[in-house]
């Protein structure tokens, strides 16, 4: 193995950055069981056991925030998951290849828009004063509706804007899986007189199933870590009853109110649940199909 030290040199930066910025902050787990004060540091602060967890679960906010997080995450996962698969199948069967390519390119585009711009655009389109959507409602003789500051519409706005932005990008992976299917399968099916729908049902869907399951596990694993970004930007006083989720709460409590330990406890609770869901989904899919993450 002589002369291999330089292979480790190539790996060194990656190891260093991960050790520092991913492993060192894990001491935050300890913080959740302490009355942490920056002056005394992690080794000097007193341990208080589960105090902060108990405090969080005894607040009236806790139930609401957890419900908000779960509902938003589940709604988002269940509704948006099938769209990229359907789009990929439709593109795969598009008769005019150039048109298909164009649809593909255009549907990727929103992925490159930042969350900031996306929420800004939503503010523009759904504005009660001049937004296109409300102009159409007015033209139809309906009352304008304040989509962006209403508890009833927050979840729909969140999820469907996500579908608008992410479907094209997420479909790439299924599209790639579809293009990897052995063409002789289709030829055989055509000889047997299979229609296009039957080809989708009996060739395409079974072939991309492993990819679908991997993607499902991955999305389920991050289920409870619903993006801080969009919820935080869409949040306002009028919709905070449903838009306050664990990640936005952790940010506010931890970095704005500087209640470090309390925030770390909530964060730990959140990642704990994430991990359990990931393990559960992985187990289920390993039993049902033969696909699993490891």
């Amino acid at each position: 193995m002589k002369g291999h030290y330089d292979l480790y040199l190539l790996l060194l930066p990656a190891v260093l950055f991960t050790a520092i910025f991913a492993y060192i902050p894990m001491y935050g787990v300890l913080m959740a069981f302490q009355d942490y004060s920056p002056a005394r540091g992690i080794w000097g602060s007193a341990f208080v056991g589960l105090k902060h967890f108990e405090k969080f679960f005894s607040t009236y906010m806790a139930k609401q925030i957890i419900t908000n997080t779960v509902v938003l995450a589940a709604y988002s996962l269940v509704v948006s998951f099938p769209f990229p698969i359907i789009l990929a199948l439709m593109l795969n069967y598009c008769v005019n290849k150039r048109f298909g390519k164009m649809v593909q390119t255009v549907t990727y585009m929103p992925y490159f828009i930042s969350v900031m711009v996306l929420v800004g655009m939503m503010n523009i389109f759904f504005s009660t004063n001049y937004g296109v959507v409300n102009e159409v409602l007015k033209a139809l003789g309906r009352e304008p509706y304040s989509f962006m500051s209403s508890e009833a519409s927050f979840r729909h706005m969140y999820v469907w804007s996500g579908i608008w932005q992410g479907t094209g990008y997420s479909s790439v992976i299924y599209f790639a899986a579809l293009s990897g299917i052995d063409p002789t399968l289709y030829e055989a099916a055509e000889l047997d007189g299979a229609s296009k729908l039957q080809k989708i049902r009996y060739i395409d869907l079974p072939s991309i199933m492993p990819t679908v399951i991997i993607m499902l596990i991955m999305s389920a694993g991050s289920l409870m870590s619903v993006g801080f970004d969009k919820a935080y930007l869409m949040q306002n006083d009028r919709n905070s009853g449903v838009s306050e989720i664990l990640s936005t709460y952790v940010y506010k409590v931890g970095l704005i109110d500087t209640r470090y330990s309390f925030s770390a406890a909530i964060n730990l609770f959140n990642s704990g649940i994430n991990f359990v869901i990931l393990l559960a989904v992985n187990k289920i899919s390993a039993k049902v199909g033969e696909t699993s993450l490891w």
Binding site: P25, C94, Y260
Partner: protein, 299 residues
């Protein structure tokens, strides 16, 4: 049913399928494209017409004043410059760390390979959270510095694994054997042989990382307090989300006019801030599917 009748039935079925399929795709295309198109035409239109909902299909009352205001606003321009710097430097660091690390991990003769993989993948599922990371950045005296924007996120584990998979699948082991017989060092082999063979991977990595840097706002929100260091996304936040009038309107008395100007600035801002990434995309598009496919190979 005779064979012929059956064939006909399938043919009709397939034709219906094609018509329905194409129709839905056209609708999808319009749904995705229209909001983008609308922002573009509205940004060039007369503010009064935009704000009374008169713009639908074509720009009316052509003007470029909104763009002039965007480009003459020092805060926006400073943000733009900052974003370009963070994106350029950040992406270079990302590439150096991820590509070299990914290559080392792809080598089967790397001792402890499995251990390293566990070391990296564990962080995908468990992290310390926002507050401890913030404390660390503070302790390292990175708060409010340029480096806070490019160092803490120097590498994404997901991309590292993507690189490893690509190198495993695309660099023939015979190449390495020949090079080793010639006494070629690993670093040299990586730099002179592996990288030139990995253009598709590099393109996809540039895209992923650059978009990430350009669009990031949580990191600057946490780590920067000096407004002159703000990237574009944070400058946008005040105008797009909080609807704060920009500085040039500070002395204005006419509230209605101020509101109009602020709203109009939004359209031009959306275009100006999203353009760089949307323009970058076509250059790497041809590598895109290939790159994502690499990621789908099980690691």
């Amino acid at each position: 049913m005779s064979k012929k009748a059956q064939n006909k039935k399938i043919k009709v079925g397939n034709m219906t399928f094609d018509v329905v399929n194409t129709t839905i795709l056209v609708i999808v295309l319009l749904i995705v494209l229209y909001p983008l198109y609308y922002v573009l035409i509205a940004s060039f239109s007369n503010p009064d017409l935009v704000l009374t909902g008169k713009i639908f299909l074509l720009p009316k009352g052509f003007q470029t004043e909104s763009y002039e205001r965007v480009f003459s606003n020092p805060e926006i321009m400073q943000g733009y410059l900052n974003s370009i710097l963070y994106t350029l430097v950040g992406t270079c660091i990302n590439l150096a760390v991820t590509l070299s690390g990914g290559y080392a991990l792809s080598r089967r003769d790397l001792r402890g390979r499995k251990g390293f993989m566990i070391f990296f993948t564990f962080t995908m599922f468990f992290g310390g959270g926002t507050v401890p990371t913030y404390m660390l950045v503070r302790k390292l005296h990175l708060l409010n510095t340029f480096w806070a924007m490019v160092i803490p996120n120097a590498m994404s584990v997901w991309n590292l694994i993507l690189c490893r998979n690509f190198f495993e699948g695309n660099i023939p082991s015979e190449l390495l054997e020949v090079a080793q017989i010639d006494g070629c060092r690993n670093g040299y082999f990586f730099y002179r042989i592996v990288l030139p063979l990995s253009k598709a991977l590099i393109a996809v990595m540039v895209l992923f990382y650059a978009v990430g840097h350009w669009n990031s706002y949580m990191q600057p929100l946490l780590y920067l307090s000096d407004r002159t260091k703000y990237p574009l996304q944070l400058v946008l936040k005040n105008i797009l989300i909080s609807s704060q009038p920009d500085a040039s309107l500070a002395g204005m008395n006419d509230r209605a006019e101020m509101y109009k100007q602020t709203e109009m600035l939004k359209y031009a801002l959306v275009v100006v801030s999203s353009a760089p990434m949307i323009v970058l995309y076509p250059f790497v598009q041809k590598y895109f599917v290939q790159g994502v496919m690499v990621g789908s190979v099980k690691g």
